[in-house]
């Protein structure tokens, strides 16, 4: 039996990890909500953002957090561009399938270019506070992990406030829930969908920077993120941002706790077990939105 302090430590790690998952899954949910698109390239952009943070740090020595000033607007614009220039040109009848392939191809291109530019070597940002930690009720928490969690939490909070309390947020939610009805209300759903996409990609910028603080990055890393993230959005109910956040925290925690007894690899399967169980038992997801029902 693992000791109590180890369990507590794992819970803390699970929460910290779950926060990052929640932010990234929220992005993936936004794309799905506004366009019914499974954005495979989400995690490739995540890694791209991490590389930009790493590169900026290596070249100029600035704190990786500062790169957010550039990457967030940049990714937002890229998201809008992807939606407006690429996805809207696909035939509506085959949009779901073809958009997967399209974003898949974008992911391949990003991975290939990262490999070309920075080689396949694993990279890691060296910060003065990399190995610093603080004591938290008996658990030791790395400072960098706390910062990453804080960023994710702030970004999620920002997203929540934006969606709940702004006119744009209302329009976005209306578009997600019922596009035609939103159009009837005079909402320019095309524009809103573009912004929704931009917002989703902006979460990848924040997530990538957070990720770069404490882990190694390499070009093909995105495959190991997209799987869990897709599982999370299905379990949480496709299209539901709160559902995705709850599922992310739950599964992140489960993964962390399972590692106490199982090997790292087996613990990772929790996401896929949850995915298959959800689809077999409750295809609309567990926390989720009504959207899932339709697909």
């Amino acid at each position: 039996m693992p000791s109590l302090s180890l369990v507590f430590q794992s819970v803390v790690l699970g929460v910290l990890l779950g926060g990052l998952y929640a932010l990234l899954a929220a992005g993936l949910t936004l794309y799905f909500g506004v366009m019914r698109v499974v954005m495979i390239a989400h995690s490739a952009f995540l890694i791209l953002a991490a590389y930009l943070a790493w590169y900026a740090h290596r070249e100029t020595g600035i704190d990786p957090l500062l790169t957010l000033v550039v990457t967030v607007p940049l990714f937002f614009a890229a998201g809008v561009a992807i939606q407006r220039l690429l996805l809207t040109r696909l035939r509506p009848a085959t949009l779901t399938m073809m958009s997967v392939l399209l974003t898949f191809s974008v992911a391949l291109v990003i991975e290939g270019l990262l490999g070309y530019a920075f080689s396949g070597t694993q990279r890691r940002i060296r910060l003065g506070y990399s190995s610093a930690s603080i004591e938290f009720f008996g658990a030791r928490v790395a400072v960098v992990k706390l910062i990453a969690f804080g960023m994710a939490a702030l970004a999620l909070l920002g997203l929540y406030v934006l969606m709940k309390h702004s006119r744009f947020g209302q329009a976005l939610r209306a578009t997600i829930q019922h596009r035609e009805a939103a159009q009837l209300l005079g909402i320019d759903t095309d524009r809103i969908a573009g912004y929704g996409f931009g917002l989703g990609l902006a979460t990848a910028a924040v997530g990538g920077t957070a990720l770069s603080l404490d882990t190694t990055i390499y070009p093909s890393l995105h495959w190991h993120w997209i799987g869990p993230l897709m599982a999370i959005i299905v379990v949480g109910g496709l299209g539901s941002v709160p559902g995705a956040a709850i599922a992310a925290m739950t599964l992140g925690m489960l993964q962390s706790l399972l590692q106490l007894e199982l090997s790292t690899t087996w613990a990772q399967t929790v996401f896929y077990v949850a995915l298959f169980a959800t689809l077999a038992v409750r295809p609309q997801g567990f926390f989720g939105g009504r959207l899932a029902q339709r697909f």
Binding site: V100, S105, H178, P283
Partner: protein, 362 residues
């Protein structure tokens, strides 16, 4: 479909037959024309791609459901064959068919989870399948050998390597022929008609009495079985299995790229795509070896196909041809502005109807 039955002349049919025979003749004589065993291995690699993408096309081409996870079935077929030969000591080719049958059985619950709901979930499940199989085969080292790999005993011990390649070249060719023949039989059958109706409009097909879920599941299982056969045959030929290479998303993506490039609606589409992509890969390796840009090229190619010729090169070439011919097809159209508007609404309306879809059990 009544293809061919009402042709103004039979010459096209004959031309078709002649070309087919010529292609078969070339394929059969290729090993004896090859200057070294290396060329035969290239031939095998391309045939393997062709079988895989044709197998993929049972689902992708007929139903329009795009699976990015068929690499998992190939890997399962390979490991199944390898384990049954190495651990259960079945004769290699018995193991091959038993493994394919087991994969077909496994495809039923996977299909159940993946096909019960429409569209997006299918893709998610297909990718997840590869990732979970990778994890399982890496972790379960006591059975699979994990990252140490699995050595599959040679089916023909004592056979010289060149002869081994030649034998497997013909085995792959036979498998390809079987897969193509099966696809062709389904293509012209009522079952195939139902599947194509699903691809066109699933709700509509169901409202006309097609049991869409059963149809999709059946063809999914058939596709998985063929993919597993290809994987198993590959295992017997290649001999060394490693989870990282067997369960790769990229190999599944190549199947999609090949089929899509060639044209998913055509019998020879995936074969043509496999020849083109396989040849290009080999050529690029020999000529421009050592940059990771092959990913970029594959990505861009997929991008171009999806954006500009989603039906593949065959219809794209056909359209080009038609432009030269300028047949009188436009006379059918008598579209008014109002009708155009109506049709646009129809397109947008897909979403409205989508919003009222429900999930359906068997």
């Amino acid at each position: 479909m009544r293809r061919g039955s009402e042709l103004p002349s039979r010459t096209h049919g004959l031309l078709h037959l002649g070309a087919l025979l010529a292609a078969v003749a070339v394929a059969l004589s290729f090993p004896s024309m090859a200057p070294s065993p290396y060329e035969i291995t290239v031939g095998i690699a391309i045939l393997n791609y062709a079988v895989l993408s044709t197998s993929w096309n049972f689902v992708g081409g007929f139903t329009g459901y795009i699976s990015l996870g068929h690499g998992a079935f190939a890997g399962l077929g390979a490991y199944g064959t390898g384990l049954l030969t190495a651990k259960a000591e079945l004769p290699p080719f018995v193991a091959l068919f038993v493994a394919a049958a087991l994969v077909a059985v496994l495809a039923v619950p996977v299909g159940y989870a993946a096909l019960r709901v429409r569209g997006a979930s299918f893709v998610i499940v297909s990718i997840a399948l590869v990732l979970i199989m990778l994890l399982v085969f890496q972790s379960w080292a006591s059975l699979t050998g994990g990252s140490r790999g699995l050595v599959v005993p040679r089916p023909f011990p004592g056979m010289l390597r060149a002869e081994h390649h030649r034998t497997f070249y013909f085995l792959f060719l036979a498998l390809l022929a079987t897969a193509l023949l099966s696809w062709w039989v389904i293509d012209r059958s009522r079952f195939g008609m139902g599947l194509k109706a699903i691809r066109e409009d699933e709700d509509k097909a169901q409202s006309l009495g097609t049991p869409t879920y059963t149809y999709k599941l059946v063809v999914f299982v058939v596709s998985a079985a063929f993919t597993a056969l290809a994987g198993g045959l590959y295992a017997l030929w290649f001999g060394d299995l490693d989870p990282v290479f067997q369960f790769s998303i990229l190999s599944g993506a190549y199947m999609v790229l090949m089929a899509l490039l060639g044209g998913v609606r055509h019998l020879y589409g995936p074969l043509l795509g496999a020849v083109a992509v396989g040849y290009a890969l080999e050529y690029a390796k020999v000529e421009y070896g050592d940059t990771p840009l092959h990913l970029v090229v594959a990505g861009l190619l997929l991008f171009v196909v999806v954006m500009f010729m989603p039906d593949g090169v065959i219809p794209a070439a056909g359209a080009l041809l038609a432009r030269f011919r300028r047949t009188g097809e436009t006379s059918i159209r008598e579209v008014t502005a109002a009708e155009l508007r109506g049709r646009r609404e129809q397109d947008d309306g897909t979403e409205v109807r989508g919003s009222e879809r429900t999930t359906r059990g068997a």
